[in-house]
């Protein structure tokens, strides 16, 4: 894997990237094993909740209400965070967010930053912007550290190095930390990471983080994590810079009651994650003395404006949909060409690109609905996928070029046929004539041309029936039975 960032603007289409990814049998094994383990844990802790469906509904209501009043809650957050000593910045897009953060780091006087795992910083490719400005970012989340040291790319929003097994991780640590004797037991790897990171925690004066929830009512911020490294980054540096999408806000402190039951269970299959940090502004006696929050739009307002796709923003980034997705489980995350992979990636990524890129992602789904079933805030992902497909089709068939589009032509022709009984009957007869050169002796088709060739890669197709149901029905009526 190369170190180039996942960028939907330059990524190959999903079917192409998936083909490459599926050639990597080790990766597929790792992804399947890891998602199996998390799914089993999730199923266990969700199963013990008698009110899980009510909780999901409550989570959906909280998020939906927030999105309907997003401007109000954002301003409330800004006011309360400012009152508590935080400094709030607004960024229209990724570029502006990067610029603000780079300037803030420079102003802090540090040439290094320690980072908490944050998919938002991945979304805006912050690390390369920091490096270009001469600032060295150290990832402190174990999985992100593995990605950074291995010059790899994240493939999962909760466990970014999910595609690596521990033997591969050991090899990276041996090489990058200069530890040729390192063992491959989980505690060996954790020890090595701890030694490597401790020194950074104590030395580096500036921290960069994302956020799980911004609490409008108090101006507080909530971060959930498993390792405690996040809390180090939140408490030890003098300056803390946080970047969050504007979708991360929630109205009240009390809403955490619902969301913090849903998130850990869905994300890691834990009743409660080991570390939950909630803090408000700055405190002279403890923690960072300077606290910045960069609230970033980056196409979220456009998503908000699309009534049918708005629910995309309800996402709390638990990755349950990724673990459950049969497509993701075959391909892993890199095939999506975006830091947001799997079902949530298939709907979020093209929308973050305002539908200019990643148009193949809404089609990267069999619409099986496993994502919707597990989503803790009940985002109807299949419904949004279909809505986005409709947008893609409209884009592609607008203008003259669309006239020649083979798929659109076939779809229109079929729609014509289905609109008339006479044409439908004729098509059934014609179908048998048209397919006849392709039908083998046993009544099966083993090769199809053009767009349909995908079918016969691994499947045969049975010939059309000699007598349709309709013919049988009419014959039966005539014979009196």
């Amino acid at each position: 894997m190369s170190g180039t960032a996942l960028d939907p603007k330059t990524a190959p289409t999903f079917p192409m990237a998936a083909k490459t990814a599926m050639g990597d049998t080790q990766l597929r094994k790792n992804v399947r094993h890891a998602t199996d383990v998390i799914q089993a844990k999730r199923a266990r802790v969700v199963g013990e909740m008698p009110d899980w469906q009510e909780l999901r509904e409550a989570g959906k209501q909280v998020r939906q209400h927030t999105m309907e009043n997003l401007d109000f809650y954002l301003e409330e957050f800004e006011a309360n965070c400012t009152r508590a000593g935080g400094v709030v910045h607004w960024a229209r897009d990724a570029e502006e967010a990067r610029r603000i953060i780079v300037e803030l780091v420079k102003a802090s006087g540090s040439e290094e930053v320690i980072k908490i795992k944050s998919m938002t910083t991945e979304e805006i490719q912050l690390n390369s912007a920091l490096e270009a400005a001469g600032i060295h970012p150290f990832e402190t989340d174990l999985a992100e550290l593995i990605i950074q040291l291995g010059q790899d790319r994240p493939s999962h929003i909760v466990v970014p190095a999910l595609h690596k097994n521990r033997h591969e991780i050991r090899a990276i640590f041996q090489r990058e930390m200069n530890l040729p004797e390192l063992g491959d037991q989980p505690h060996d790897l954790a020890d090595a990471a701890r030694m490597f990171l401790r020194e950074k925690f104590l030395r580096v004066k500036t921290g960069v983080s994302g956020a799980n929830f911004l609490i409008a009512e108090t101006g507080g911020v909530c971060i959930v994590e498993s390792e405690g490294n996040g809390r180090m980054c939140l408490t030890l540096p003098e300056t803390l810079i946080m970047v969050a999408g504007i979708d991360k806000v929630i109205p009240r402190y009390q809403d955490l009651e619902v969301l913090l039951q849903l998130l850990p269970r869905s994300a890691t299959g834990e009743r409660m994650n080991p570390y939950t940090s909630i803090w408000t502004g700055v405190d002279a006696a403890d923690g960072p003395r300077v606290f910045h929050v960069v609230l970033m739009d980056n196409a979220r307002t456009e998503i908000l404006a699309d009534e049918e796709a708005r629910q995309t923003l309800n996402c709390i980034r638990c990755a349950a949909c990724q673990n459950a997705c049969p497509v993701y489980r075959q391909t892993g995350g890199h095939a999506y060409g975006s830091v947001y992979a799997g079902p949530i990636g298939a709907i979020l990524t093209p929308q973050l690109q305002e539908m200019h890129y990643a148009q193949s992602l809404p089609y990267a789904s069999s619409l099986c609905g496993a994502c919707y079933e597990v989503c803790p805030v009940k985002i109807n992902i299949p419904e949004v996928l279909i809505h986005l497909r409709n947008k893609v089709v409209k884009q592609n068939t607008a203008g003259v070029a669309g006239f020649f589009d083979v798929e659109a032509g076939a779809m229109k022709a079929m729609a014509m046929i289905f609109r008339s009984e006479r044409r439908f009957r004729a098509a059934q007869r014609m179908g048998r004539v048209a397919e006849s050169p392709l039908v083998g002796k046993d009544g099966w088709i083993g090769w199809l041309p053009g767009l349909l060739g995908g079918w016969t890669q691994v499947r045969d197709l049975q010939e059309m029936p000699k007598e349709t149901f309709r013919d049988w029905w009419e014959r039966r009526g005539k014979n009196g039975n």
Partner: protein, 233 residues
């Protein structure tokens, strides 16, 4: 495409004493168009469906994904067309639309429909039946009541077979890999036939089972329930 399923539905329903009608003007529910992004093309098919079936006491559809299409999308489509009358007709008609197994278990409250099918069979839970229609164990209860059947549970029974309509051709490699998982599980059961409530999944699974020359068949649930003692199957 699958005349045997239609015939089987007629046989089962008539055996249970119902009168079956087949409006000759019916064609397609529009699912493929709608789900691929051609929503405008699906609209006239909604109107056609309503015109063909309004007035029926119950509409029985032997395909879970078609029923899911109607339930999940027809009301929205009618709203989008801004046609008040059509909206009313859709709202009136939809509660009468049943997936075949659902009609038997929920509509008629039956499990034993007097079927006989002396074969080893495994059941695949089609996604739309499972997650959109919430068929639950209805189909399995129907199968368990069949005399002579040897029903074996399928590993990963709730995993998608990878069909997904145009997904199977647009993402042929991923779809093929999902299908391979499914056929591996089917072969493990040593069943003679794999059944489901949806012929699209079965056509997909059968395509690979035939390609691999496994000799294992797929058969729609209705065809099993239509089986009778003394009749060759």
């Amino acid at each position: 495409m699958f005349p045997e399923t239609g015939k089987a539905v007629v046989r089962v329903l008539e055996r249970l004493g119902h009168t079956v009608e087949f409006p000759a003007g019916q064609t397609c529910c529009g699912q493929m168009h709608y789900n691929t992004g051609y929503q405008a093309e699906a609209m006239p098919l909604l109107e056609r469906f309503v015109a063909q079936f309004k007035g029926a006491e119950a509409v029985v559809v032997p395909s879970s994904s078609c029923v899911a299409m109607m339930r999940d999308h027809y009301p929205k489509m009618a709203l989008a067309l801004k046609d008040r009358e059509l909206q009313g007709q859709v709202n009136e008609l939809l509660p009468k639309v049943f997936e075949f197994s659902e009609f038997l278990t929920k509509g008629l409250g039956l499990e034993d429909v007097g079927a006989y099918y002396p074969h080893r069979v495994t059941y695949h839970a089609s996604c739309h039946g499972l997650r959109n229609l919430l068929l639950g164990d209805g189909p399995v209860r129907l199968l368990k009541a069949v005399r002579g059947i040897d029903l074996v549970e399928l590993e990963g029974v709730e995993q998608c077979c990878g069909f997904g309509g145009t997904f199977a051709v647009k993402n042929a490699d991923v779809s093929g890999a999902m299908l391979a998982d499914k056929t591996t599980a089917v072969l493990k059961t040593k069943a003679e036939a794999c059944t489901a409530c949806d012929n699209s999944c079965l056509m997909h699974i059968q395509g690979a089972l035939h390609r691999q020359k496994t000799g294992v068949r797929t058969v729609h649930l209705a065809e099993i329930l239509a089986g009778e003692e003394g009749v060759q199957q």
